[in-house]
């Protein structure tokens, strides 16, 4: 082993050491900054389908068609704390359709028939209009088009249905195609703590 190779090796070690230190330093800086994880969040107050004041419009269905997943990671959620359990739900029925023999609109609003309607609580056997109904969204069928969200919006409904990014389905793309397509910038990356979602279980 001659002197020349030793110098070369030393130089190599020095460059590698400097490189590792540099990479490590940047990584440590970023790690210190990364106190919370960013997730894509849909801000209901900005979403045109649920934003008050935006009435007499067609439902914005971009979340259903823009997502990179075959079935969008955005899905409709019915908040049962707010749902009026109406006999004729404007998000379940197409209230402009012809009335059938039961006095109910004959057509359903959801193009994918993803909403289920069940009488709940004390059921009046004689008068179906005297009952409360639970409207449950079948997550496996919903494609997040938002038609029901628009229909349930105040004043026609109580605004209990909203669109939400399903974190378990979201691929967490750098460039969310829903966010890019959204006309109102309603989808944004936020730290998990500000996403309105429950925090992770400490053990998981």
């Amino acid at each position: 082993m001659n002197h020349e190779t030793t110098r070369r090796e030393l130089l190599g070690h020095a460059v590698r050491g400097a490189g590792l230190l540099g990479l490590g330093g940047v990584a440590v800086y970023l790690t210190a900054k990364a106190d919370d994880e960013g997730v894509w969040v849909l801000d209901t107050s900005k979403c045109v389908n649920s934003r008050l004041g935006a009435t007499g419009i067609e439902a914005c269905e971009l979340c259903a068609t823009s997502c990179v997943r075959p079935l969008s990671a955005v899905r409709a959620i019915n908040d049962f704390e707010k749902c009026g359990r109406c006999y004729i739900c404007p998000a379940y029925f197409d209230v402009t359709s012809a009335v059938d023999e039961n006095g109910l609109p004959s057509a359903k609003l959801c193009p994918r028939d993803a909403i289920k309607r069940e009488p709940i609580g004390w059921v009046d056997p004689d008068d179906p209009a005297n009952n409360f109904y639970e409207y449950t969204i079948d997550e496996a069928l919903c494609n997040g088009c938002g038609i029901c969200v628009l229909a349930c919006k105040d004043p026609s409904g109580l605004g209990s249905i909203r669109l939400e990014v399903r974190y378990d389905l979201c691929l967490d793309c750098n460039r969310c195609s829903n966010a890019a397509a959204c006309p109102d910038d309603a989808i944004d990356r936020k730290p998990l703590s500000r996403a309105g979602a429950p925090q992770r279980h400490p053990a998981s």
């Binding site: 940047v26 997943r69 209230v95 609580g121 378990d168």
Partner: protein, 323 residues
């Protein structure tokens, strides 16, 4: 008889009139507040709204451990075990997990832009898993060369598998095209450090192969990917060599790597079979060029010394060669 006929007519008329008049309901919201559990009765309990959690920390740790493990195996297979079959199997396994199962997210190539944003925008932070995925392959490149490209990267894997009849790109053209990835890297950083509203994750937007892993994607993405795969049949790994911005970073670090691919196990022959076998033009003067060697282990299979490790040679000779 007459009476009943009249009755039927009236009934029919009433029915028709009712059908036209009540063609649709006069909809009015029946309630202003949600009914309480007591209103609903019968022990009704308001169901909880399904609130899914993001990918759990445990799974993120699993991803990181798998990445580190795969790179370790890739380095071992490429530099120590010298197994082409092993590298191919590892690349396929990684393509299945990181590509098809994890749908290409998170990937170090796109992470370039996230890291660039996090370094310049005080309000933007990247998650731990992104940091791990971005830095681990760079560290490995400083130690063992581009082992990430060879055995772990799913993009590398699908291009590796389509290499059909590779032609040697003229050296000068190869060098010139190789500069494109640095242009792309520069553009990617430029678009990342722009103010938030103008920021554009171009690497992800023009990602050629992620559409195949997700089996869906914008038409232009699939067309670019398909074109690169067709091109890749004749020009080995065009994306890795000429376009991949992360490949540019890895190449510059691999330049100073501690260990690298050594083509012959012991003694060189001047046969040049290795240089011909390399579809990536990474062998110059019978040596693997560390910046462009993708650690694919093809040259080993072409090397006559590798096939018959010459133990009958004088032991003094091999001492000379390794010493």
């Amino acid at each position: 008889m007459k009476r009943s006929a009249r009755l039927i007519t009236i009934l029919v008329l009433t029915f028709v009139v009712s059908q036209t008049a009540l063609a649709q309901i006069e909809y009015e919201r029946p309630v202003d507040v949600a009914p309480t559990e007591e209103d609903i009765g019968e022990g009704y309990v308001t169901p909880a709204v399904q609130r899914p959690l993001p990918r759990s920390t445990l799974l993120n740790i699993t991803d990181t451990v798998l990445l580190l493990g795969a790179m370790g195996i890739s380095a071992w297979l490429g530099l120590v075990r010298r197994s082409r079959t092993g590298i191919v199997v590892l690349a396929i396994v990684c393509a299945v997990y990181f590509g098809f199962y994890r749908k290409g997210c998170v990937c170090p190539i796109g992470a370039i832009q996230n890291v660039a944003v996090a370094l310049t925008d005080p309000s933007y932070a990247v998650s731990y898993v992104v940091i791990a995925f971005f830095f681990a392959p760079l560290v490995l490149a400083l130690l063992f060369g581009r082992v990430f490209c060879g055995g772990v990267c799913p993009f590398g894997a699908i291009q590796e598998l389509v290499v059909l009849r590779p032609v040697q790109v003229p050296r000068r053209l190869d060098r010139a095209l190789g500069l494109l990835k640095y242009v792309y890297l520069g553009l990617a950083i430029w678009f990342a450090v722009l103010p938030a509203v103008e920021r554009d994750f171009i690497i992800c937007r023009f990602d050629p192969f992620v559409g195949f892993f997700r089996r869906t994607g914008p038409a232009y993405m699939l067309i670019i990917g398909g074109a690169l795969l067709v091109l890749g049949m004749f020009i080995g790994r065009p994306y890795c060599r000429y376009l991949c911005p992360y490949g540019g970073l890895l190449a510059q670090l691999a330049r100073f790597s501690w260990k690298g691919v050594t083509i012959t196990p012991d003694k060189e022959l001047d046969c040049g079979l290795c240089a011909e076998s390399c579809p990536y033009g990474a062998i110059e003067k019978l040596r693997a060029v560390r910046t462009s060697c993708l650690s694919c282990a093809r040259c080993y299979t072409a090397c006559p010394r590798e096939r018959a490790p010459a133990r009958e040679d004088a032991s003094a000779e091999s001492h000379e060669a390794t010493g």
